[in-house]
Symmetry: C2
Subunit: 195 residues, 2 copies
Amino acid sequence: MNKSPVVQSVEKANAEYVASFGEKGKLPLPPSCRFSVLTCMDARMDPAKFAGLSEGDAHVIRNAGGRASDDAIRSLVISYKLLGTKEFFVIHHTDCGMVLFNNQIMGDLLSKSLEQAVVDENGWRDVGQGPGSPEGAKIDWLTFTDDRQAVIDDVKKIRNHPLIPRSIPVYGYLYDVRSGKLEEIKEATEIGKAA
Amino acid sequence: MNKSPVVQSVEKANAEYVASFGEKGKLPLPPSCRFSVLTCMDARMDPAKFAGLSEGDAHVIRNAGGRASDDAIRSLVISYKLLGTKEFFVIHHTDCGMVLFNNQIMGDLLSKSLEQAVVDENGWRDVGQGPGSPEGAKIDWLTFTDDRQAVIDDVKKIRNHPLIPRSIPVYGYLYDVRSGKLEEIKEATEIGKAA
């Protein structure tokens, strides 16, 4: 089977990375800077670049919205309990796709077609004609309407989770995709402070 | 409140990133290379570096193990349905922490203490003396024993999910933390091929 242009590009870039890998093969498993970052999957964000991380420094957990989902909390608990991290950052961002829809819209779109939908001033509509699935209506897509409030909500959820020790501070930030700047959401960091 | 050395370091690195941000503020929301990567939170892995991604290129989803959890699938569905990605990579890695424990061990450790545990030739033991929680025994931690099989299992789970279109190829890879090299797991890619 011929490889797609995307696969060829990834494999070529990887070969270049391997050629200059150097001493990174000796890095230990636990993160040397002892912290974890929970952030969005958004393509415009590169946590290593915007937060100054080198290989080996910190755990990076990413999902749609950077939400404190049960799975993100699973990852955070493994991070501190078994691998020694001691501080958590929750970093959402401006212009997030999660404000553009809600559970009703997503359930409706997926029930009509699994193919891509597009959005314009009249809302979302399906482009494809493929079959849909009722399964989308059963999922909580974890959308939000206010990016700052979502940071506060997620820091609060982590702070109050029974498996997260009070000794770990949880910081809240909003990343501005127009400037690259991390803005601390002080209300979130205050809620997330260690005790 | 004084900021921790970790927070100061992240904010300093971010200020440097902002100073050289350039034209990246004009990037659109949908990923320009139209693919998504699901990989592990492991600190030693930098997907942008090992796969050659620039800001704006691709969605990156990360959790403990790079598992195809329900939350990872939530993110993948949002990625293709609303933001136009057309190929998925599942990338696990060698020397993953997820082979070092299982649900029984994690439940027991968390029931005794929420503080850090350490592992040696005698197994895991708690270092701290803090209170524990029974909640850890209720969670599926998504551990595995064979890193190649886990890639196959996760590609298969995505391929067979009712909300993932058959038109999207799902590729399986194992990243070698000693060399930085991506090895295609052909059995996984074969299972994940588009139809």
